[in-house]
Amino acid sequence: MASADKKMVSVDSFIFKPPSSPGGEAHFIGGRCTKCGGYTLPRKMLCFRCGGEMEVAPLPGTKGTLYSFTLNQQPMPGAEIMPPYIIAQVLLPEGVVVETVLIDADFESLQPGMAVDMVVEKLKEDEEGNDVMTFKYKLV
């Protein structure tokens, strides 16, 4: 495939929209309640708070804080990332928690509440030669 035809595709198009071009913006695909304004990630049909209908809402994902974290040493069947790596739960300003991989961090020094930011990375190439893009986080 010619590099001009190469596309950036999402690791999980239900929850994550990668940049449409290198250096572009990425965001999560969340839901916002049309009744109470609360958010879910990923989007749900109805709001978990009040039962109102949800509409699609982009969540920037750029400002988060660490909720919890673990250093994973066990390879998972079918997973693309090999241990050791830090699995982190990141709390986003919209009140939702997303599980992700925390990179470039010293596990021993991590504390809940630390500020983190999204990093968009290529995870692998798919069968058609497209770049499969994913989201990870790093400390701010």
């Binding site: 690791v11 999980d12 239900f14 929850i15 994550f16 609360g38 879910t40 978990f48 708070r49 909720y67 919890s68 974290f69 673990t70 250093l71 994973n72 040493q73 066990q74 390879p75 998972m76 069947p77 079918g78 997973a79 693309e80 990332i81 241990p83 790596y85 699995i87 739960q89 709390l91 009140g95 928690v97 599980e99 992700t100 991989v101 596990f107 504390q111 809940p112 995870l123 994913t134």
Partner: protein, 370 residues
């Protein structure tokens, strides 16, 4: 509402039973329960099977060795808590007068190797962010940071569990494990090591559940099922989803329905799929305040001679964890304890027992009285 009792229980030893089918595992546990209850199996009006992995109909297969009377047989699947959810549904049906006698069989032959991730086929499975021990490790790390719980507190749960299992002939592991062996075993997801993960097991367990009136036709040697509470996925603002339901809420409901409090419980079975879980559960069930579970367990309060003995049979960690059979194995142990038939692992004269079974399909809390 009618009183509901457990009239008989049975179990097939938990182990890696390569050479046995689910039909054989179920048949042995079911026969033991029927003989234990002393019933005429023709009186069973409905059958339920707790099972996760079997596609070929596990219901008719599990009951296939013992009866074909045309009764409805239904598979209940709530992952690790399948058979106790089935037990709870029997409790409700019998209590409401729909049936007088039901039988539940929990059975599982587990796939080999680590069980699948919890990412539901999405990015979590592709990135490897959703391993089951990882889910417990994330909770454990938060507990450590929030309350100062120590890594050794978790390891001690496994040490205690292995010791108890040496006294249980139905347990998969019957070997003591030292603190050094646990903390030096391979790290899976920090702070959880290999010997702090429940093993893949094959096994079965069964129970005969009756109305009290029906049970009296056979025996007075029964255990009263005093209450049942169940839960499922619960979303809370700013927190990860509670997949198995929120244990403190289920416990509150179960205590209220049984007319007791946590201080009245003499022996308990909790869902220790990974070692930190016992510490979370003793807090969630109200045996000690939130945040104090680590020291509470470390000081021996959950030992067989402790304030509230927990997982006297070795728990999931050492008895083994064949998902669909696990819940009824918990019941089996509590019935043995309440009857005073638990042998060397017998708790002194228990009157009230509590069962907490959790997992990714929903959870239950059930209370029993002698």
């Amino acid at each position: 509402m009618r009183d509901v009792v457990i009239l008989g229980v049975g179990i097939h030893k938990f182990a890696k039973s390569w050479d046995k089918t689910i039909d054989e595992l179920s048949g042995e546990a079911a026969m033991m329960a029927i003989k234990d209850a002393g019933i005429n199996p023709m009186d069973i009006e409905a059958g339920f099977v707790g099972n996760v992995y079997e596609f070929a109909p596990p219901g008719p297969r599990a009951f296939g060795q013992i009866l074909q009377t045309g009764i409805p047989i239904t598979k209940i699947e709530t992952a690790c808590a399948s058979s106790t959810r089935a037990l709870g549904i029997c409790y409700q049906l019998i209590s409401a007068g729909v049936y007088d006698m039901c039988m539940v069989i929990g059975v599982e032959k587990m796939p080999r190797g680590p069980i699948a991730g919890l990412g539901a086929g999405g990015y979590g499975d592709i990135m490897g962010t959703a391993p089951p021990p990882g889910a417990y490790a994330l909770m454990a790390m938060r507990h450590m940071k929030q309350y100062g719980t120590k890594r050794e507190h978790f390891a001690y749960v496994s040490v205690k569990s292995h010791k108890n299992a040496t006294m249980n002939p139905y347990a998969q592991y019957q070997k003591e494990m030292t603190m050094e062996e646990v903390v030096n075993s391979r790290v899976i997801s920090y702070p959880i090591n290999l010997y702090e993960c429940s093993p893949n097991s094959d096994g079965a367990a069964a129970a005969i559940i009756c109305s009290k009136e029906k049970a009296k036709q056979y025996s007075t040697r029964f255990i009263t099922m005093a209450s049942y509470a169940a839960g499922g996925p619960l979303w809370r603002e700013g927190e990860p989803v509670y997949i198995a339901g929120y244990t403190p809420d289920m416990a509150k409901e179960a205590y209220e329905r049984a007319g007791i409090g946590p201080e009245d419980v003499n022996v308990a079975q909790v869902h220790d799929a990974f070692s930190p879980a016992e510490i979370f559960e003793v807090e969630d069930l109200g045996f000690c305040p939130h945040g104090e579970g680590g020291p509470f367990v470390w000081e021996g309060n959950t030992g067989i001679n402790g304030k509230i003995p927990v997982n006297t049979d070795g728990g999931l960690l050492s008895r083994g964890h064949p998902l669909g059979a696990t819940g009824l194995a918990m019941l089996f142990e509590l019935v043995m304890q309440l009857r005073g038939e638990a042998g060397p692992r017998q708790v002194k004269d228990p009157k009230v027992a509590l069962l907490q079974n959790g997992g990714v399909g929903g959870g239950v809390v059930e209370i029993f009285k002698s």
